[in-house]
Symmetry: C2
Subunit: 431 residues, 2 copies
């Protein structure tokens, strides 16, 4: 992975980071790295996420998916960190003829559409929940199981479970002898992509999950006490420093359709880890080149409250644009679509810099197994580093509990004072 | 459409709007409405967008798509405002068995995957570009035409063109006698959903495009000089006022998978129209309930720089969650997935309010033709109103031109000084 922060320097952009500030930041990175290494070595909650490239056993995943590789589809039933990592890896690497659908919401109309359309007898259900009690996931799983039964499909022959060492999903797996994988201990969902939580669909699709982990390993080996040697830490430190200087929004803008889900995964990682104590940079998801025709006007001419992260792979399969008789477009004929995309990437980057808007370039060699493994690991390390600099608790998500209790109370799942607050909503209606 | 701004009042949230401030805002809305009506009546550039529910001729669209309703797929080739409106309407209303794909990017790998997989002989190509020279759109169209020729499909029998009254696409349509629809005059792309630009795929899919326009008409009729009588203006005015008070980010969070593309459409509308002169609220796309497990932590406990817009339909098809033997989840059995989604909607809204975070509720009766027509019109009117309050030029997008010239220069399409700036990029590389 290659990071270029040239367009985040104070000599180019405002906000920007001066050379002196970069040196100060380097000292802070050294201290944070020591803390992170300590956490990794003692398998401390959260920090141990960075050990996954070593601790994840690909053979256990291969065993669990054995016999499912001839599926026509994989249906992941999970939400948040139990779905986005799997979606990211699978969408980056491509379907290989086995499509991957996710039920990561409880919209009945969408779920009915998916179930009506999937070949259930040839679909592998990949249900993921650490506790085995996540309301959305279990509700969806009950609906899927029911749909399979009604279609005459034995769901116990088509289901893989990834969960903790106890709880309803664990018990269900034992009772029906389902292939079962473990959610890793001490790893919050949003940091679990490089574990069975993220790797099952890719394994079924025939991707080289060992290479994904090897990519993570490359990232792990590059961790060091200086940001000038570690792209992951440099990204986290620069994002933090730009936020402190007013870039409170981080627009993650990959130039690859396959990385669209990655931008969503990043948004969860960043928002849920760093959005605490009134702090935290807000991730915005964008997609190049598409969003040049949508968000770029704002990024370039709106408030100076943003940094843009541009991501691309340096090698890809290209497709040549045919020659054309249209005079105004003759220059495109014979060019590759990928060359056009690259020109737009560089043009957007320069266009932001020319307007003094900070942006950072992340380049991978290829969007392959190693590339995505390294990218996911690097963003996790960047996030943990940023959490140290913000001095917040990176690995918790306390603010989401209130709403969970309220929803449960509303549905008759117990007495919760939060549910009463819902009933007393202040109204000011215009219709 | 029903708007509830109770959770944006200063008595509930910070930032928030006091009752006195709401009255002042109402005066500003009255003046802005007069300006907007003047623009509509004189068909002034941009303002005439709000006339589309009347000026769009559904019969012309029906004529153009006649014979294409038995397609297996529609492939829209367009980008930005030439794609997002069509995607939004089609994704909201559902495929009706005729899938809608969009080529709105120039990623060769994604395009190869789409073309390999589409039944080209049964696919209708819907190419949209006002000028007929948009680089991405024309490059993709040349590739699609080539793929059809190689597959032995006569592309001239399968292509509908929506463009201006001159230019290469117009000439192509004349030369090959293709069905041709007009991009409306005086309407920027992002305001053109309620025209042929947005309605062709829905018409092919058999949706009632007259009802979509009727929904827009309902929105038009509700425009009035007071925010207390016009939900669209109230939304624009409240968003503006919250931005002025620090809510520089507007998280658009529909609770319906079918509205995911709508959130993207909204992001373009808001960003490209209002992101000027250092002003403009940054749209963030979210999706309920999924993003409760991703963004909500930040929205509730991060910086007080956000408003959240929650959107839902009050009626929908539901699916019952089967009874379960799992004790902890027994409360879900017999409940509808839609009821669960509604409970989460209300819980999230209350959870934000309890943390003093402003949020606004938009409700439609149903996610049907009239509902989406009214919603799109209302957001356009809200945006134009906000543009008046910001005192910016809502209908232009000058900041995107720099990058277009740079990209063209890089590809040998002429001499542009912007391309030279790309070559002199400041580098600071970490790898």
């Amino acid at each position: 992975m290659r990071l270029d922060i040239g367009n985040a320097l104070a000599s180019v952009t405002d906000p920007g980071i001066s050379t002196e500030e970069l040196e100060e930041l380097d000292n802070a990175v050294e201290r944070a790295h020591d803390r992170i290494v300590e956490g990794m070595e003692s398998d401390e909650f959260g920090y141990t996420s960075l050990n996954l490239p070593d601790s994840t056993d690909p053979d256990a995943i291969r065993d669990a998916v054995a016999g499912f590789e001839d599926s026509e589809a994989v249906l992941t039933v999970g939400i948040g960190g139990s779905a986005l990592g799997a979606g990211t890896i699978s969408d980056t690497l491509g379907s290989n003829g086995i499509r991957h659908e996710m039920l990561d919401n409880v919209d009945p109309e969408a779920i009915i559409a998916v179930l009506d359309e999937l070949p259930l007898a040839e679909t592998t259900v990949n249900v993921v929940s650490r506790s085995g009690t996540t309301a959305e996931t279990l509700a969806n799983f009950l609906v899927v199981r029911d749909a399979m039964e009604k279609a005459g499909v034995d769901w116990t022959e088509r289901t893989i479970v990834t969960t903790g060492d106890s709880g309803p999903l664990h018990e269900l797996a034992v009772e029906h002898d389902l292939p079962k994988l473990h959610v890793p201990e001490g790893v919050p969902g949003r940091f679990s992509a490089l574990s069975p939580v993220g790797l099952v669909p890719a394994a079924i699709q025939g991707h080289d999950i060992e290479a994904v982990l090897a990519g993570g390993q490359t990232g792990k080996e590059s961790l060091s006490g200086s940001l000038s040697e570690c792209p992951a830490y440099a990204y986290g430190a620069v994002s933090y420093a730009l936020d402190e200087r007013g870039a409170s929004i981080n627009a993650m803008m990959p130039y690859a359709e396959g990385l669209e889900t990655f931008a969503e995964w990043f948004a969860q990682l960043w928002a849920e880890s760093l959005g605490k104590d009134g702090k935290g940079q807000t991730p915005a998801r964008a997609l190049g080149a598409t969003d040049q025709h949508s968000q770029l006007q704002l990024y370039r001419a709106g408030p100076r409250d943003k940094m843009v992260t541009l991501v691309r792979a340096r090698d890809r399969t290209d497709r040549t644009i045919p020659e054309t008789e249209i005079e105004d477009l003759a220059y495109l004929g014979g060019t590759g679509l990928g060359e056009l995309l690259d020109a737009e990437f560089e043009a957007t980057e320069a266009s932001l810099a020319a307007a003094g808007r900070p942006n950072v370039r992340i380049e991978l060699d290829q969007l392959d197994e190693e590339g995505i493994g390294e990218l996911l690991f690097a963003m996790e390390a960047a996030c943990i580093l940023a959490g140290e600099l913000y001095e917040i608790e990176t690995f918790t998500q306390p603010a989401v509990e209130w709403g969970k209790r309220a929803a449960r109370g509303l549905l008759g799942g117990g007495e919760f004072e939060e549910a009463e607050a819902v009933a007393s909503k202040e109204q000011h209606i215009i219709e």
